[in-house]
Structure formats: structure tokens, C-alpha cells
């Protein structure tokens, strides 16, 4: 896939999912923001959740948003890849498109959405509790590490869904469960000790905690979790590419 084709497909992916709607691409940003708004209202106001040791009424909202936005990017990338090959059937049949390059479009499009929603979040932060400062730069490597993992998982899903369409539904349920096993809505400290290892073994928890460090405590995230995420991502991606190489002939035959 040429860079020009990647840019073209990404741009269309962003605009076309909402083609025909008056607000168009804005919907890509409205959805996560509304979700954050709902959770903020319910948890911080009604259930009066407070971040331990912080008096700010906005702190919980920031905590929630900082975990939610990367989560949305991560899970959307994986889930939207699941139907990718049959969606792009016309293009695959036309010529020499490398199958492994197709999920890059989803990765790029979700990264773009992430940057826009993050910008909105930063504007809100700047007008309430203040910006994180230099640690903000760390968002880039954390995002890269997380999206490598998302690409690998997405490619695996895309390949296997060709053979088993049920995987899409299974994946969608799995990611809903994973969401609640990730400290996004709640804090790690409130998790019962019995469930704690489960939550911490979840790869999404690892990178979400990095974002929390940046946005909530305004500190540099630990290096180790980022490296673990990236390493896991590279391993999953290598495995996905190996699987695809073994099955590419069948994938193309089944389309």
C-alpha cells in the first residue's frame, strides 16, 4: 500500500462512516465525549466518587477521560478490524494489495480521532485544573506502543473472522468485559484483592495506567509498562503476520 493510498483511505474512513449525516465526522468525537460526560456525572456527582487525596471536583472527570480516550482508540482499532477483509473485498480483488497493510487504515484513523479528542480534553484541562506540562510528550510513545498491540490483535481478528464470522460478536463481548477489567471508570485501589491480579494482568490496564500518570498526577509514566506493552504488541504482531502468511491463500479464496 502506497502512503498516498493510506492517506486517502484514512481520510475517507473518517468522513465516510458518517456520510449522509449532517454533523458528519463530528460523530466520531461526540460519542466518546458523551460517554465521558455520562460517567462523570453518574460517578463523580451522583455516586460522589473522589480521587483519594484530591479535593478537585474535576479530578474524577479528568481521570475518567484520560483512560477512556486511549481505551476507545484501542478497542475500536481491534473491533473495526474484525470485518476488514470482507469490507475491502472489492479492493482486494482488484489488485496487489498486501492484506497486512489494510488494518493500518483503521490504526491511522483511530489515532487521528484520538488526537482530536485529546485536544478537546486538553482545552478542558487548561480551563480547570491545569495542563500536565512536559510529561504530556510521553503520550506519543505510549500511544505507539498501544496501537502496535491493537494492530496485531486487529490483524489476527481480521484473518480469523474470514473463517468464523461469529468472532466479531465474540470479540465485541470480550472487549466489553475487558473494559470493566481495566481501571478506567474505577481506581485500582478500590478493586478487591482477589480480583486485583486479574485486573493488573490485563494489558489494557498497563497502558491505561501510563495515561493516568501523565494526566492525573502530571508525572512521567514508568518506562517498564510502556516497554511491556510495546514488546507484547511486537510479539502479537509477529504472530499475526505469521498466521496471515500461512492462511493468506485461504483468506483470498474465501473472499
Amino acid at each position: 500500500m502506497t502512503p498516498a493510498l493510506l492517506v486517502h483511505l484514512t481520510r475517507r474512513d473518517l468522513t465516510d462512516r458518517f456520510s449522509g449525516s449532517a454533523l458528519g465526522g463530528l460523530w466520531a468525537f461526540i460519542q466518546p465525549l458523551v460517554m465521558v460526560f455520562i460517567f462523570t456525572v453518574i460517578f463523580s456527582q451522583i455516586m460522589s466518587a473522589r480521587i483519594p487525596g484530591s479535593g478537585s471536583p474535576f479530578a474524577y472527570g479528568m481521570y475518567l477521560m484520560s483512560g477512556m480516550l486511549p481505551w476507545v482508540a484501542f478497542s475500536n482499532t481491534c473491533l473495526r478490524c474484525s470485518n476488514l477483509f470482507s469490507e475491502r473485498k472489492a479492493m482486494i480483488q482488484q489488485g496487489r494489495i498486501a492484506l497486512a497493510s489494510l488494518p493500518l487504515v483503521v490504526v491511522a484513523s483511530e489515532c487521528f480521532t484520538f488526537f482530536v479528542t485529546t485536544t478537546i480534553m486538553l482545552v478542558i484541562m487548561a480551563s480547570t485544573d491545569g495542563l500536565p506540562g512536559w510529561p504530556l510528550v510521553a503520550v506519543i510513545p505510549v500511544l505507539i506502543a498501544q496501537q502496535i498491540l491493537a494492530y496485531g490483535l486487529g490483524l489476527l481478528l481480521a484473518t480469523f473472522t474470514v473463517f468464523l464470522a461469529d468472532l466479531r460478536e465474540i470479540a465485541s463481548i470480550f472487549f466489553q468485559l475487558l473494559f470493566w477489567f481495566t481501571p478506567i471508570v474505577y481506581f485500582t485501589s478500590v478493586v478487591p484483592a482477589a480480583v486485583q491480579p486479574l485486573v493488573m494482568a490485563n494489558p489494557a490496564s498497563i497502558f491505561v495506567e501510563s495515561y493516568h500518570a501523565i494526566y492525573v498526577t502530571h508525572t512521567w509514566p514508568d518506562l517498564m509498562p510502556v516497554l511491556i506493552t510495546a514488546g507484547l504488541g511486537v510479539a502479537v504482531t509477529a504472530f499475526a503476520l505469521w498466521v496471515l502468511r500461512r492462511l493468506e491463500r485461504d483468506v483470498r479464496d474465501f473472499l
Binding site: H8, A90, M91, Q93, Q94, G95, F163, L164, R249, R252
Partner: protein, 410 residues
């Protein structure tokens, strides 16, 4: 140059795609095999064109999709030396039906490997070539198959491919657009582009290709000049038709309609056919030497019999008829014997479907003494042209002179 070496492709047919996963996990086969291609090899130099023909299911489309890179072969290689794109034009492939024609131009162009600058420079030329007008802004799903074809062809040909593959597509366009495409294809070939054409239309194979190969059950069974290969194809089709239960049913249907076959049956025409003198097939090129054969079984002796033939076109219009009386041949039929009557003839007829009607009678018409008249006993098709090109129903053999006019004519 395109070099295809020993391509084989076997499709594993599963009842559901999930069976493939079961197969991997349980290590036990869950499929039946279908050998789509078996050791196919050929080469194509720049500027050369190759026709691919074969009955349905012969593996033509599979071959093209492997050439285009959409499918991977089990064995064998496709090598395009000197680089360059291979563009596949096939109905219903490559267009996003929900997108407008204009956006499909951008998308297809990029997929075919054009740069954005190249697309921008050629966009107007592509739109003009499609002649779609304002429809270019409508989604492709609202297009007729002819319109979608125009769009696909326009983009593909403007991508300046090294090799252009056309799969059955031309048949969809109207006459005007076909002409335009043919013109453009000739220019493309003159510039050194290679062409691979798959078609059931033997005319366009003969018209557009230098070489042809025939696939049957995945194998290359004939390769050479288009004339020889299309003749072999006609023969193959005729052989396949003989074993086709549908065809036999139609013949029985004819038997039942006694009204079509009448007479006193002193002699009976048991079988008749119009066949190419060389191949024996009932698909014949215009201008080919052919034979009209009749098998006759005689009950009572008929001295001085007349055997007649009549060719009708698909509208039932008499095209040509004659008999042995007019040909000045003496035919004496003896009781209890069987004969093969044969009319060797060069069929200078226009392309189309025809039927044969035959009769045995005495004197010049069947109105006096009709022994057997059999309407539409057999059919045949004229496909393709040998010799001078012509249009219409018959080939006349006009001469031509050019002299300068003297005096005032206008």
C-alpha cells in the same frame, strides 16, 4: 514481458469457512478438491495480445485473478519483467458501490498504483472517456452494468498498465462504447502494451489477439494462432453438447411435434447437420468450407428423387434454399437402403444463429410428391469471419474501381 510458469491452483471446497479452522485444529480433511488450474504456462511479450477461451468452469477467471494478484497459486510463478502494472477489468470487481463514480476514480487509481498527481492530471480525461455526464456524482450502485464497465475501463486504461486483462467485460457495453474501447485498445497495443482477453465472443478473440490458448478443466489443451484455437474450441463445444442431456431433450421435443415433420415417408431423413468441413462442429466461421449432411433411410424405391435444403435465420426468414433438381443432379433411391447425402458449401453468411430444414420429394417442389419434410431439423451458428470482413446477412464479392469523373457532375 509476462512469464507464467507452471501455475496450478486447487480450490478446497468447504461446506462453511469454519471447516477450514476445524481442519487446522483437528488435522483431518474437511474439504473436497477442485482443480481449477493445472500446470498452465505461457509467455507474453510487450505489444502482444493473448486470447483465453474455454467452456464455463475451465479456469479462465481463476487464471486472470492470479495474474492480477488477487489470488495466490498453489504452485508456479507469475513474473512481469520490466515492471509495470497489470490491470484487471472484470464486471463487478474493484468498484465500491456506495461511492460516487468520481470517488471510485480516485480509489481505483490509487489501488492500481497511480500517484495522486497522476490521478489529478488524468481525472478530466477519465471522466470525459466514461461519457457518464452528471452520473459521475451518483453512487456506482445506481449505475447500469454498462456504465460501471465504462468507468472501470476508463480508469484502468488511463493507469497506463503494462498489461491489460479484460474478462468478459466488453460484452456489456453498447456498440458505440465497444467501438471506442477497441480504438483505445489498439492505440494501447501500438504503444507496446500487452493484452489478455477472455471472451466467449470468438469474433473479438480473432479481431484483437495475435495468439490464443484454450483452457479445458484447468489445462491448456490448445495454444496457437486464434483461427486454429477457436476452431478447436468449436469442436470441443460440439463434443460437449453431444453429451449434454439438455440438447437431447430438445431433439426429443422435435420428434414429438409431428406437424413439423410430415410426408408419406417412402424415404425418411433420420438425421441432418450443418458442420464445419474441418472440425465437424456446428459453430462455423463465416466463409468457412462446410457440409450439410443428411442421413436418409429408404422404405420404397424412389427413382428420380429430389433432396432439398433450406436455411432460415433466427427470425424464421428463408435465407437460402435449393435442391438436387435445381442443381441438376440425378438421385435414385433404392428400397431398403440407407444413404448419406452431402452438400459441400462455403457458408458466406453473416454472424448469427440459423436453422436447417430438409425435404425429400420428386420434381422441383415438394408440393407434388412429398416423401418427407422436416422443419428445423438442426441448428448451427456462424461465429467469426474468415477472409474479407463484412457486415450483414450475406457476403457478396464486390469488385472495386476508381476512375476520375470527367465533365460537370455537380
Amino acid at each position: 514481458m509476462i512469464s507464467v510458469q507452471g501455475i496450478s491452483k486447487r480450490f478446497r471446497l468447504y461446506r462453511s469457512p469454519a471447516d477450514r479452522l476445524k481442519e487446522i485444529l483437528l488435522r483431518r480433511p474437511f474439504h473436497t478438491d477442485f482443480q481449477a488450474l493445472d500446470d498452465v504456462s505461457f509467455e507474453l511479450s510487450p505489444g502482444q495480445s493473448l486470447g483465453v477461451i474455454g467452456p464455463n468452469g475451465a479456469g479462465k477467471s481463476t487464471l486472470l485473478r492470479i495474474l492480477a494478484g488477487a489470488l495466490l497459486p498453489d504452485r508456479g510463478t507469475v513474473r512481469a519483467t520490466g515492471g509495470g502494472r497489470i490491470c484487471l477489468l472484470s464486471i463487478g470487481i474493484g468498484m465500491d458501490p456506495n461511492e460516487s463514480g468520481l470517488r471510485n476514480i480516485d480509489l481505483s487509481g490509487l489501488v492500481l498504483g497511480m500517484t495522486p498527481a497522476e490521478i489529478a492530471a488524468k481525472r478530466q480525461a477519465i471522466i470525459d472517456f466514461t461519457e457518464l455526464g452528471d452520473f459521475i456524482h451518483e453512487p456506482v450502485r445506481s449505475y447500469s452494468s454498462g456504465m460501471a464497465l465504462r468507468l472501470g475501463f476508463a480508469v484502468a486504461i488511463h493507469a497506463d498498465p503494462a498489461c491489460f486483462i479484460i474478462d468478459e467485460a466488453m460484452a456489456v457495453g453498447d456498440a458505440h462504447f465497444q467501438q471506442k474501447c477497441l480504438h483505445r485498445i489498439r492505440a494501447f497495443r501500438a504503444n507496446g502494451g500487452s493484452l489478455i482477453l477472455v471472451s466467449h465472443d470468438l469474433n473479438s478473440i480473432k479481431l484483437l489477439t495475435d495468439r490464443a490458448l484454450m483452457l479445458h478443466r484447468g489445462k491448456v489443451v490448445e495454444q496457437g494462432d486464434p483461427e486454429t484455437v477457436t476452431a478447436a474450441y468449436n469442436l470441443l463445444i460440439a463434443r460437449l453438447a453431444e453429451g449434454d442431456p439438455r440438447i437431447q431433450l430438445e431433439q426429443r421435443e422435435v420428434q414429438r411435434h409431428r406437424s413439423k415433420s410430415y410426408g408419406d415417408f417412402a424415404a425418411r431423413i433420420t438425421r441432418a447437420a450443418v458442420v464445419d468441413a474441418q472440425t465437424g462442429a456446428s459453430v462455423i466461421s463465416a466463409g468457412s468450407q462446410a457440409r450439410i449432411d443428411l442421413d436418409v433411410a429408404v422404405d420404397r424405391a424412389i427413382p428420380g428423387a429430389t433432396i432439398g435444403i433450406l436455411i432460415r435465420d433466427r427470425f424464421g426468414q428463408d435465407i437460402f434454399g435449393t435442391n438436387t433438381h435445381h442443381l441438376g443432379r440425378q438421385v435414385d433411391l433404392e428400397a431398403g437402403k440407407s444413404y448419406r447425402a452431402s452438400f459441400p458449401v462455403r457458408l458466406d453468411l453473416g454472424v448469427g444463429m440459423y436453422t436447417l430444414t430438409v425435404a425429400i420429394h420428386t420434381a422441383d417442389t415438394h408440393l407434388t410428391d412429398c416423401h418427407h419434410w422436416f422443419d428445423n431439423i438442426a441448428g448451427f451458428e456462424i461465429a467469426g469471419t474468415t477472409g474479407t470482413y463484412f457486415i450483414g446477412l450475406v457476403r457478396l464479392a464486390p469488385d472495386f474501381t476508381l476512375t476520375e469523373s470527367t465533365g460537370s457532375t455537380a
